[in-house]
Structures are given as C-alpha cells and as structure tokens.
Amino acid sequence: MALVGSSGSGKSTLLRLVLGLLTPSEGTVSVFDAPLTRASLPEVRQRSGYVVQDGGLFPHLTARGNIELRPRHLGWAGERMAKRTKELATLIRLREDELERLPRELSGGQRQRVGIARALALDPPLLLLDEPLGALDPLVRASLQHDLLEIFTSLNKTVVLVTHDLAEALQLATRIVLLDRGQVVQDAAPDELVRAPANDFVRQFVASVSRGAPS
C-alpha cells in the first residue's frame, strides 16, 4: 500500500502515529487489530520495521552493526544472527565485505538498502517506509525501485510506503491512498485510480504524472 500526497498532506505523520512516535490529539490509533496503548507500544514496534529517507542508519555502527542491533538485544545466538544477516545481505545485494563498512562508506542506494535490511531483521509482518527513494539521484532511483519491487514481492508482508511521487506508487503498490491536507481523497487500486479519479484533485495528480513521467 502506498500513501501518496504532496508535502504537508499528513502522510509521514500517519506513519509516525502508527509507531507511537507521535500521540494523536484526538481519536485512537489501531495497529494489528488492536488499539495502540503505552503497554502495547514496544510490541508493535518490534513487529514493525521503519525506514526513513537515506536509511536512518546510525553513523557509529557498521552496516552489520545496524542490521544486528535488534537481534543482538533479543539475545540471538551468534550463529543464528550470522545466518540471518547473510540472508538479508543476499536480499539487498550487499557483499560480505560491504557489511563491515560504516554508513558514510556506503553509497546512498546501499544505505537505503541496509536501512531496509535493519527493518527486516526480526522478520516483522509490517514494513513502514518513509520516502525511501527521496534522497537518491534518478539513475539509482530507478534501479532501487526495481530492487524494492523484487524485495516486496518475495516477502509477502504488509508494506506501507509513503511517497510524494504517484508514478513510484503506481509501480510499487497494489493499493494507493491519496491524501490531501490530512484527508483521504481516494483509496483504490492503481488502475482504478487512473481510470476513475474520485475528484478534480486526483485527476490533476494523475495528469501530472503522465506529463512529468512519460514512461
């Protein structure tokens, strides 16, 4: 599922609400079919993976250190952890020696992929991505977009992707929620969104894609 909207539409805020990084001023948040409370928060966070723009890697830890942060805290045995890290490295196409590099020694695309691997380390059922392709140049962007699609289809998880780029959403998502100033404008499958825009706002949004991205 992709959350799409221009900046200020509230799409990132929605992700933060899901993870309890923000508390709603009114109403309740429901995650995994249960209301989010102080008590359920740690569990919800452990069952989610959160990736921000540029990966959100901690600069003092290597790629491996970032990926293994959570399993290590849960007391995973060395063997199990090494196996899991190897699986994830294969998934994100990172070489063994690149795992030992610091974030600043990796390329932007690699950092983003390591961020995804860190989020996936505990094999959570829910993956939340906030503008994962935002900080990349167009070439890397295209190739990573391809990688993401591959990763998403192989995982069979609920993935919520926040993006301002409808073209990206159309390519990656099976369901698109269009937001405008905090309100859901349309919630539909990609082809339905293009075929039957709910109102003028959606129509303009779709039109801008076909103009801006002729592919």
Partner: protein, 501 residues
C-alpha cells in the same frame, strides 16, 4: 564513555588508596598551620621543627593557608592542631574588638576548646608607612600628620581595609576621612609605593619590606593600634595528648625579639631562602648544613612536580571522575525532563559564577580544610560543562535518527547506551575535556585551603612576593594543562566511535 570510565576509575582509586595510606601512617602527628606570608611560614616552621626535635613526637606543616578565616576554621574543625597568630587579629576575628582585654579572648578560646601560649617576644602590629624621602620633605613622622595632607594617595591591603582595627577605625581616630584608600594585594602595594604611584600603605612593624623599599613607619601617636603580640594558638585536646611537644613550644616564649624576626623575615623575603632553612639556622645556629641558598629554578620546579604533582593530579582526576559520573546523567535527565533540566543546569550555572576562592571558603564549614573542600569545589565547577555538553550532544542528534532509534522498540536504556550516547560522545568528551583543563587551573587555588597541589608554591610565592616561587608552581600547572589536552586527543580515538570521527 563505557571504555573510558574503567581506566579512569582504576587510576583514581589507586591514587586515592596511596593518599589514604600516607594520611593513616602517622596518626599522632601534630598538624601545624600557617598563613601565607613570610613571618607566619617562619613561625610555622619553627614550631614544626621544635616539635620534631622532641623524641617520640612528629609534626607536619600545613603551610600557607588562605588567611585568618581559613586557619581559625581549620583549628576549630580539628583540621590542624596549632598555628601562629597575633592577639589583635584573634580579638578582631572572635570578639570583633581588637582592643578587647586578654582574659576575654582567653575565655572565648576556651569555650571553643582552644588556648594560646605566652608571647613569643615580639609584636607584629599594623603601621602606615611612607617613603623616607616624603617623610623628610613633608615632615611626616606620626599618623596625626596625615590629616594635614589630603593630597596623599593611599593604598592598603584588602584585609586592612575591612577590619575594625584597620582603616575604618584608624580614619575615625585620626580624622582621615578625606583620604580615600585603594585596595591592593599587600605585596603589590609595596611595589606601587616604590614605583611612586602610591604615597602611603599599611605595613607590618616586623616587615622586611620596610628596609627593602626604604619606607618609614609613622608613629601611632594616639595609640590606636592594639597589641599584636605573636603567640601559638592551639587545641587543648592536642596539648593533653602531646604534653612534651607543647612544653618545647612553651620554651620558645620570649625568645624572638623584633630585631631577630625582622632579620629572619628578610632572609626569606629578600635573600630568597626557604622558611624551613631559616628556621633551622635560628634553632640550631651551629648546623652549617642548613645555611644553603634555595635550589636553582629547574631543581625547584622538579621538586615541586615530585612533591606536589601527585596531589594535584589526584584532585583533578577524582573531581573530574565525580563530575563525569554525575554530569552525564544530569544531562540525560535534562534532555528528558525539560523543566527539571533547565532547573539543574541553571543551578550548575549559578555555581559557576561564584568566584572559585569564595566557593572553596564556603566548603570549609562543611568539609574542614584539606582535600575535602577542594574536591567538592572542583567537582561543582566541573559539573556544568559536562552536563551541558551531554544535553547538547543528545539534542543535536538529527531528528530522523532519533525517531529511527525510538522506532526500534528497544528499551530506553538500550537505545541510550547503544545508540544515542555513542552518537553524542564527541560532544560529551569535549565537555569533559573543558572541565579537566578548568580543574587543572582551579586546583592551584586548593592550596589556599590546605589541599596541596601546584598551588602550594604559588600561594607561598604570592605571600612572599617571590615571582620565582610562583612560577615553580605555575609552570607545572600549565604543562599539566597541555598534557591533559594531548591525552584527550588520544582518548578521543578510544572513546569516540570511528564512524563519528
């Protein structure tokens, strides 16, 4: 931080253990105090050596303490057993009347468990002095003459300006309100009068500087100044435990006349001999070995590093360790609880504005004299830079990384130790470094409260107007600050993760 702390902890504990062992080795040693001017140092040495010459007795000289407030408090708090003092000074400090009768002073002392010996044979009273040339040109011989010369520029020591038997009383007795005195460090006032930028200053009647700068004291024709006979004031309890040591001190009564004291003061102040050497020569005139000049500057500096270095290091390391152990958590709390944090950092900032010497003196009633108050004051000074930098370091973590850390769902303690503190470590370490260099400098003031360190030669040197002695303490302190700077550059490679350098 986690890798730095064990190393520092071990070093500090080892030093602490050594110090405690030294302190515990001589339980019955008598502790002789003195203030930081030549005559007090001399009398302190005379007492120390006299006691040490008694079989079975030993004494330690807590030399060059800050002033009457420090020595009196130290005596009352059982931090020293005796020190040389003057009748008028004690009457002023305890009775607020320097001319009070002797029996009233004795009764007040007795109430505090203190007593004093008979006079050593001389008085070190206050006088006002002028240049000899001025005295003859203007016909100045006595204090009442000053009232006719309102054009004279007068500079007196801070102590003289403040005490009842000093300037306020004198001005009233002689009608000198037209003269407005400037306050000077005593040793500097002599230089100023010699250089001609002052005309009148306060002086002590046994002061070697009178001869050195060719000054004449003005006669006290209205008998304003009270008696300043020199005595030893002591704890009665110490006398009960060491009767033979005190019998030897009693035997010194009447042995020191004014001329002798002026000559001995001169040997220290002008000839640059140590108080210990001058005292030894006077006590045992036949012992030629004592009559050697002070060692060379280099030898003196090395000796200072050897004798005062370990204590200076101890003061800096222990206070720094404590400030780090308290300051870092304080910064963490300040990050989480804004109001509490502002309050904590505000009070730490308030402490920072108290002059270090004043803070040291505030600590005396709580910790006595010596290492205790110095450590407490240095700790309080070190707290703010560390707590503030911890807060700054944690606050300047980019918000998306802070949120990523929070979203991991790990316990706050784990996030702090594994993620946020390491990311803040360069800033925290910079704060510890600031505190360390601050502590190296401030610890030189610890000598004023008898805590030792490189401040000992500085404090004594200031009291004796001996620039060389001041440098013998100041130079090692400056070197230590440089060494600290270098050590922190190395420490940064150990503590700060590679990814943040």
């Amino acid at each position: 931080m986690s890798r730095f702390l064990p190393v520092a902890l071990v070093a500090a504990l080892a030093l602490a253990a050594t110090t405690v062992t030294i302190a515990a080795a001589a339980p019955s040693e008598l502790r002789v105090g003195s203030k930081r001017f030549a005559e007090s140092l001399l009398l302190g040495e005379i007492a120390t050596q006299t006691i040490a010459a008694v079989p079975g007795e030993s004494a330690r000289h807590e030399a060059a303490l800050g002033g009457t407030a420090v020595t009196m408090t130290a005596l009352e708090n059982d931090s020293i057993d005796l020190y040389p003092e003057y009748l008028g000074t004690m009457k002023d400090a305890l009775l607020h009347d320097p001319a009070a009768p002797d029996d009233k002073l004795a009764a007040t002392l007795a109430a505090k468990g203190l007593a004093m010996t008979a006079s050593l044979g001389f008085e070190d009273g206050y006088a006002l002095a002028v240049r000899r040339a001025d005295a003859s040109a203007r016909g100045l011989t006595k204090l009442s003459d000053l009232a006719h010369h309102p054009e004279l520029r007068i500079g007196v020591s801070h102590e003289f300006l403040g005490r009842a038997d000093g300037w306020p009383g004198l001005a009233r007795a002689y009608g000198l309100d037209a003269l407005e005195p400037a306050a000077f460090e005593h040793a500097l006032a002599y230089r100023a009068i010699a250089a001609g930028s002052l005309d009148v200053t306060d002086a002590y009647t046994t002061d070697a500087a009178l001869a050195t700068y060719d000054l004449v004291p003005l006669a006290d024709d209205r008998r304003f100044f009270p008696s300043y006979a020199a005595v030893f004031v002591y704890r009665v309890h110490a006398r009960d435990q060491h009767p033979r040591a005190f019998a030897a001190l009693d035997a010194l009564a009447g042995k020191l006349d004014t001329d002798t004291v002026v000559r001995l003061n001169r040997a220290i102040e002008t000839d640059g001999k140590t108080a210990a050497a001058v005292a030894r020569t006077w006590l045992r005139p036949d012992d030629r070995a004592a009559d050697v000049a002070a060692p060379s500057f280099l030898a003196g500096t090395l000796e200072v590093i050897r004798t005062d270095g370990p204590q200076h290091l101890f003061l800096v390391l222990v206070s720094l360790l404590a400030a780090t152990l308290v300051g870092v958590p304080l910064g963490i709390i300040a990050r989480r609880r804004r109001v509490l944090g502002a309050l904590l950092l505000g009070s730490a900032g308030l402490v920072q504005t108290i002059p270090s010497l004043a803070l040291l003196c505030f600590m005396i009633p709580l910790f006595g004299i010596g290492t205790g108050p110095a450590l407490a004051a240095l700790f309080l000074y070190g707290l703010l830079p560390i707590a503030r930098n911890t807060l700054t370091g944690l606050s300047s973590i980019p918000p998306e990384l802070a949120e990523s850390a929070e979203a991991l769902g790990l316990p706050p303690r784990v996030v702090l130790l594994r993620v946020t503190l390491p990311m803040a470590s360069p800033t925290i370490l910079a704060g510890v470094k600031t505190s360390a260099i601050l502590a190296v400098g401030t610890a030189t003031l610890a000598a004023f409260v008898g805590a030792g360190g490189f401040g000992v030669p500085i404090s004594t040197g200031l009291g004796l107007n001996d620039t060389r002695l001041v440098l013998e303490g100041a130079l090692p302190a400056a070197l230590l600050a440089l060494v600290a700077q270098g050590l922190f550059a190395l420490l940064e490679r150990v503590v700060v993760p590679r990814g943040l350098r």
